[in-house]
Amino acid sequence: MAELPPTHGPASRAAALATAYISHRHGSPGHSWVLRNVRRARREDIDEMGHKYHLEFVLEDIFEKDSTVNCTAEVLYHLGNKKSAPDVQFTIEGELKNTDEADNAFYNRIQSLKKELEAENIPDSHGNVSPEMQPIRALAWAAAGYVIWQNSTENTKYQLAQIKHVKQV
């Protein structure tokens, strides 16, 4: 097992993938995360299987910069077979904030809308996100987390840039 510099490309790509996966699994209208930094990274090359990264990293809540959570993860990029998504196992230190209240408030708000929700460009060109659109943004992070997880390789690092269009169906 080789120790990797935590600030270098390979470690940060693997951690970004783990972050995306965690957003996919735990994201909600009130909650999502961006990678703040990698504390430790090691790489294990497994014969006939692929490269497995052992990571310790810190996530930051996208709505509250000072709210962070420590995580560990193992990310296995499969050898050769580019069609299969990497395997991710993770643990989160401590309890995640319970977001039931925010989630219910969001659900009730959408229920009470007269017309289906439809919007574009979140954030807008100047980085603005209206308070009503914050939960939509969090949901997009969760969805993007899935897409990123499914489409990443050891040599790519994806990040949600902007919601072009959202429509309630």
Binding site: P5, T7, H8, G9, V34, L35, R36, N37, E60, I62, K65, N121, P123, D124, S125, H126, G127, N128, N155, Q159, A161, Q162
Partner: protein, 358 residues
């Protein structure tokens, strides 16, 4: 053509008005500005600070727009060395041109009151290019916010844009590029195929023996990146480059707690060839850095305007740290010609040292 830009000549020969350092009062440096406003701003800055600032023609974009840079230069008969800083090479990185404008404003506003600025301006001229990729920048305002490249047409106008930061002649077309126009990292049809690239190259080549520092400003990621992207082989002055960058990053963190990573592009990010920063170092400019400003992905390219001020404040400290180092390295022991009080102080110190040595 006998005179390439008559307007530029006229601008430069406009007689000095008053000695007052003026910034257009109504210009809001905490908002993003479209290109028309930046053009007006440049002309105003020169007009209001004509003893220090001159606007110069650099070249033209694909769509025939004029590229200007600002030269901040303290009048003197000394030959000065040059610090170069360019912003907006990638269209969507709006915080970058915002920083160049902020930087100019800060230098001019504090020139009278800040001895550190007057000290380095004794020996160094600042060349600031607020927006290099003008066509792309306009396109990102009007059509596609996340556009990156320039707007050169390819394949009969069915595909647009070369990545200017893959278009320089530094191991061009080898690593971290695409030969396909539809890619974000399309390196162009050849090294320096783009007029924007050639505009920079022509000036830098001409002045390279006087340029000590080449800074190119991008977003995002919060990095100060050293050469190279095209190889993991460290540059000859790697230790010094790293040390200065680390000092700059530490100064930056002091301001608002923002943390920056320092290291070579090929290790911290990924391999890429044809970058302007690699090219600058390869032709001999010792202090060549790429800055990647805020943030780390929460907003990414669409950084909210309320972060312009803190980002610019902290980045200012990093850049001036580098400029100070370069000034002290190449112009050591220069006493600042200030009031007679401090002149007296430095004379006293010298005397004490001499006695001890003998």
């Amino acid at each position: 053509i006998l005179i390439h830009d008559v307007q530029e000549l006229v601008d430069q020969s406009t007689p000095e008005t008053s000695n007052q350092k003026q910034i257009p009062e109504s210009y809001d440096y905490t908002q993003y500005h479209p290109m028309e406003e930046i053009y007006t701003w440049m002309a105003q800055i020169q007009k209001n600070n004509s003893e220090l600032v001159t606007q110069h023609y650099l070249g033209e974009t694909v769509e025939n727009r004029t590229i200007y840079y600002l030269q901040i230069s303290q009048p003197s008969d000394k030959t000065k060395k040059i610090i170069w800083m360019d912003c907006g090479i990638h269209a969507r990185e709006w915080i970058s041109p915002a920083f160049c404008q902020w930087f100019v404003k800060e230098i001019l506003q504090n020139y009278e009151s800040d001895p550190k600025i007057r000290k380095f301006l004794q020996n160094l001229d600042l060349y600031i290019l607020p927006v290099l990729n003008i066509d792309g920048y306009i396109y990102s305002w009007e059509t596609a916010r996340l556009w990156r490249k320039n707007r050169s047409p390819h394949m009969n106008g069915t595909c647009y844009g070369t990545d200017l930061n893959r278009n320089f002649n530094s191991s061009w077309g080898t690593l971290g590029v695409s030969y396909n126009c539809s890619s974000e990292i399309f390196c162009g049809t050849g090294p320096e195929s783009e007029p924007e690239t050639r505009a920079v190259v022509q000036l830098i080549e001409r002045k390279k023996s006087d340029i000590l520092c080449f800074l190119t400003i991008h977003s995002y990621g919060q990095y100060i990146l050293t050469p190279y992207g095209s190889t993991t082989e460290p540059p000859s002055n790697n230790e010094e480059l790293m040390h200065v960058a680390q000092t700059a990053a530490a100064a930056l963190t002091e301001k608002h707690g923002t943390s920056y990573e320092v290291g070579s592009t090929s290790l911290i990010l990924y391999s890429n060839s044809g970058s302007s920063r690699d090219w600058a170092h390869m032709i001999g400019i010792p202090f060549s850095y790429t800055f990647e400003l805020r943030d780390k992905g929460t907003y990414g390219f669409v950084l909210p305007a309320d972060q312009i001020q803190p980002t610019c404040e902290e980045t200012m400290l990093a850049v001036t740290t580098i400029i100070d180092y370069v000034d002290q390295k190449y112009f050591p022991g220069g006493a600042l010609m200030l009031t007679s009080g401090s002149l007296g102080l430095s004379l006293c110190l010298t005397a004490v040292l001499t006695l001890i040595v003998t």
